[in-house]
Symmetry: C2
Subunit: 452 residues, 2 copies
Amino acid sequence: MNTPGRILIVGGLAAGPAAAAKAKRLNPKLEIILFEQGEHISYATCSMPYYIGDTIKSSDELIAFSPENFEKEKGCEVKTLHRVEELMPHRKKIAVLDLKEGKRKEYKYDRLLLATGAKIVVFNPAWLEARNVFVVKTLADSIRLKHYIDTHHPQQAVVVGGGFIGMEMADALRSRNLNVMIMHSGPEPMNSLEPESRRIVLDELQRNEVRFFGEQRLKEILVHDGMATHVVTTSEKRTCDLVILATGFSPNADLARAAHIRCGKLNGIVVDDYLKTGADHVYAAGACCELTNLVSGKPMVSPLATVSNKMGWAAGSNLAGHPTVYQGSVRTSVVKVFDLEVASVGLSEREAQLEGFRVLTESVIGQSKGRHYPGRKSIFVKLIVDRSSKHLLGANLIAEEGAAQRINVLSTAIAANMTIADIAQLDLMYTPPFSPLWDPLLIAANKTLKRL
Amino acid sequence: MNTPGRILIVGGLAAGPAAAAKAKRLNPKLEIILFEQGEHISYATCSMPYYIGDTIKSSDELIAFSPENFEKEKGCEVKTLHRVEELMPHRKKIAVLDLKEGKRKEYKYDRLLLATGAKIVVFNPAWLEARNVFVVKTLADSIRLKHYIDTHHPQQAVVVGGGFIGMEMADALRSRNLNVMIMHSGPEPMNSLEPESRRIVLDELQRNEVRFFGEQRLKEILVHDGMATHVVTTSEKRTCDLVILATGFSPNADLARAAHIRCGKLNGIVVDDYLKTGADHVYAAGACCELTNLVSGKPMVSPLATVSNKMGWAAGSNLAGHPTVYQGSVRTSVVKVFDLEVASVGLSEREAQLEGFRVLTESVIGQSKGRHYPGRKSIFVKLIVDRSSKHLLGANLIAEEGAAQRINVLSTAIAANMTIADIAQLDLMYTPPFSPLWDPLLIAANKTLKRL
């Protein structure tokens, strides 16, 4: 099994390094080269908002491995500032531009992994030429943004996009004492959440003096002397001295598409259970791919680091010749919105209906601690259930404490294909400092059960 | 199904009221009478340490229902200060002593539920006659103890027994500024935990200036003028002005045993899946019973309120003529020991070996938050795994944050009969303020997997 060979990996953020390290560990005879167009690899994307907000002080703390350390500890070659420009699957080689030297070179491979991640959807890339307009995609973006805040002391930020990144950026910028407005497409923030949840999040934004404008479409950013001065939407024209474009992501599958490697309806690279693409000897993992939503059985895309790392591990095993299935995701996610833990898993009610499930939902407010224990917080729970199979399809949990960890219980229950009756019987812990006698999850499950 | 009839319930703490309320809700035609020998029903036993430690100020806050409120809201008759003295299953009646009136009376039933709970094992009941020697079993005990501390200001407490209650009482008494010694049978506190966990707990006791004496057997409590002055063990003789006997519990099955209702090797009442005892028309639920340990398939006993309440619900359904199975427990428990969340589920390594499993264990230290996120804490994880089936059998989790909630994930995984490979694939959430990229549970599962 452990035959020598050369593995090339395109992309150095999450799935790429995870796959490289795994493959080398399983088969040390492999030659592995990792290409990354930026200057950093293997950093904590999800920590960037906390670095910008100054909860985490130094950008060094976000870097799990420098290229040098990764080479030394993992035994893989790392080429940063190398942009892969072309895939030639029929000839088992790729063309790479060395951005420092300006030279293009071809590399042959035995197996290739595409881990090209996601890209931020920017309606008009020219806007990014303004010195005070930012996306928060790479560590370099984050360093530039934080430096800009530190040196220019902007007062009024407009965040375009009220999804996960928009929430995290609003939180970060408020903690830097900027005034913050959010311009968002939907009526409330975070389209992927339930309507009840979105309203709770909206209240939290308002409580933290973030001005939220819903039903907005970005029309123009007015730029004067290389600086954005106004954000213009369908109904608003607002002055600003800082703009963050958090307008959603899509899989970065351009290289694959140009090489006629099959992509799906969600614009991600299509892979099989072993993460093989449509091209021989070419694998893909992470946010550039489509993967299986384990609840609906349908394709999904995910920018989450957890998903990318797990796919990277599975891809690394397959690259090393150890067949390993990546099953998919139940889509567990949590975002901190000021003092709230906002957690979700599985399908939303709307998604479940669109998938043809006969949907029943139930919402309850539980408590995070025992009866009369000081400091307890309310926990909002909404369960989304299939009336036919009685399986849990999805959930939202929101609280000042105890929502983030509890979503993992439901994530586990969904992965185990539990019915609501199973969940109602779970032996969840009880001790007053950490939970009420009837955990909010049990209350919600029992209430649902009575209606099934 | 909803025929009239009279249900008698013996015991008003957890399983009894849960069963009464459930049965009445399912069949409002039932006449239900609940007997309780104490003056309170339906109070939060698990909150008593926090009441004694003054985190919870008033004993009223521990009472979910006064007898009057329970009668009004649940439609069941409540007779407090009524001690059931004799069961006559062949004649379908019981004899009850009214403690206020001093009168004995017989009551006929159609169905009877025994919810007589647990009793504290006290080597010599005469010790309890000293005014400064306490058990912490009932709310009345707790009120007396707190009043004693408030009025007599004792300085030096000896807690006999270093199990769950011993830990909670040490914590409570330290928060009242008493000096605290613990005399315990084992070498370290909390025999039910893994050796590594016990040492972490011991360190936490010492960090909080609790003096722990291991390998002690209580020989005598010296009493002078009705006040305990010294606790004498096999190797220690210590002065004291307050003694707490936290020397373990056993099922309170005396009434059943006297009526020749079958009890098991663990001294609990034996019930079937529907919580029926060996006597016709007699059910039992809660800490007086033996129930099935869902990991070993063997009988266990449990003083936990969660178990009692779930059994009470199932018993209530059966009393009302709705056949409902109570499956058993995976034994999830958490205790707060000063700043630590000490959590466990399933079998210990030792228990698993005694059950004949081929045991593999793995321990890791993970983190509660993301890389470099401020305030993160270490989380100790030990997994106990069956080498043959690769199923998780049990776990310990200890941390200053994030242990209590995480044990519920493993509790769910055990209930779902997950293998370690399944657990390693779980889609657990990640966001730096609440979890690291690789959750400690995933790290532990992956490390175990490599050795299976």
